[in-house]
């Protein structure tokens, strides 16, 4: 009898945990300073359980490089965007959110790899009545400001966990689609698996061996780093103009062309 009670207890815990595990697949188009969704279209997913969420995009293994090459030239709002080189990473660009620590860890790469950690920034979402359906799940609209941009998010109460793609979070349900007014950050829904029965790895971010020397930086250090990169890019633009020669004018942009997150 005792054995049966213990078995029933353990089984119910396991079922509850499985109920809160899920994965959402997105398309991720990040186009800082472009005025529209002119960036490369990457595959992305958000894996989550009760404790944490893990978002990843621009990962080598998630992409078909020849498909990305087809996007080498893009035209948005009458302007031509030309993409040179490889824009994915072996480990991808990741964001890990731990609810208990109420913090996010993330990585990206400019010339050098960057690893950041920050306390979760509370977004004051305005919940609206409009609804839309994604993958058979009814989603509700919410709007909120996050680092200089007003985002529209579509979240579902069917998955009552406060997660979302990239750094967007804090709604009464998982965000299935989100974008800012100009769609310079455009995270669109592809599919959802919820609940997921099998085991799912939900972070944390593990640095590859070659990146061990890079420390986790704060958001203030990240701001400083962006400013330094902007200065370097100005010099680089002058050199490129010289190398190209002739009647060429080369302009490097400000922070808004490097990051969709804008800081005061």
């Amino acid at each position: 009898m005792r054995f049966l009670i213990v078995f029933y207890f353990l089984a119910s815990i396991s079922v509850c945990n499985a109920q809160s595990r899920g994965i959402v697949y997105y398309g991720h188009i990040e186009s800082p300073g472009k005025g529209g969704p002119a960036g490369l279209d990457f595959n992305a997913y958000l894996a989550f359980d009760k404790e944490a969420s893990y978002y990843i995009t621009a990962k080598d293994s998630l992409e078909n490089q020849s498909e990305l090459e087809k996007q080498q030239t893009k035209e948005v709002n009458g302007k031509t965007q030309f993409y040179l080189g490889k824009h994915t990473l072996p480990q991808g660009k990741q964001v890990y959110y731990n609810r208990q620590k109420d913090s996010l860890w993330w990585n990206k790469k400019y010339k050098e790899p960057v690893y950041g950690r920050e306390k979760r920034e509370k977004i004051n979402w305005k919940l609206e009545s409009e609804t839309k359906t994604f993958g058979g799940l009814t989603c509700h609209k919410a709007t909120g400001v996050f680092r200089g941009k007003t985002y529209t998010a579509w979240y579902t109460k069917k998955i009552p966990l406060p997660y979302g793609p990239w750094k967007l979070q804090g709604l009464p349900g998982v965000i299935l689609e989100a974008y800012d007014e100009k769609k310079e950050m455009y995270l669109y829904f592809k599919s959802v698996e919820y609940p997921v029965q099998q085991n799912l790895t939900v972070g944390p971010i593990v640095k590859p061996k070659e990146d061990i020397q890079y420390n986790w930086i704060s958001i203030d250090e990240y701001k400083d780093l962006l400013e330094k990169i902007v200065e370097k890019n100005k010099t680089k633009a002058i050199l490129i103009a010289k190398q190209m020669g002739g009647d060429v004018t080369v302009n490097s942009g400000g922070i808004e062309t490097l990051s969709v997150e804008l800081f005061e």
């Binding site: 300073g33 472009k34 960036g39 030239t73 302007k79 031509t80 965007q81 030309f82 993409y83 040179l84 080189g85 490889k86 824009h87 990206k108 790469k109 400019y110 010339k111 990169i229 890019n233 680089k236 633009a237 490129i240 190398q243 190209m244 002739g246 009647d247 060429v248 004018t249 080369v250 302009n251 490097s252 942009g253 062309t257 490097l258």
Partner: protein, 81 residues
């Protein structure tokens, strides 16, 4: 006699060949002329694609980007370092 017959046949064939060469060349149907014009247009479009006419933004692997404007440079000239 044989020689005479041979010469007269040969003479007739030569006259026939000469007569056919002097005919006015047949005009090409209009549809064919249009096809040739289309091919010429395609080549022009390809040339225009390679030349940077207006402002173009170059996005580099390291996350930086810059905009270039020039009148007659080609995409092959665009670089990141």
């Amino acid at each position: 006699m044989k020689k005479l017959v041979f010469l007269s046949v040969f003479g007739l064939m030569s006259v026939g060949a000469f007569a056919s060469n002097s005919e006015e060349a047949p005009k090409l149907p209009e549809a064919n002329v249009e096809t040739i014009e289309n091919i010429v247009e395609t080549v022009e479009v390809k040339t225009a694609e390679n030349a940077v006419k207006a402002e173009i933004t170059v996005n580099c692997e390291d996350g930086s980007s810059y905009s270039v404007s020039c009148d007659s440079c080609s995409t092959a000239q665009l670089m990141c370092s």
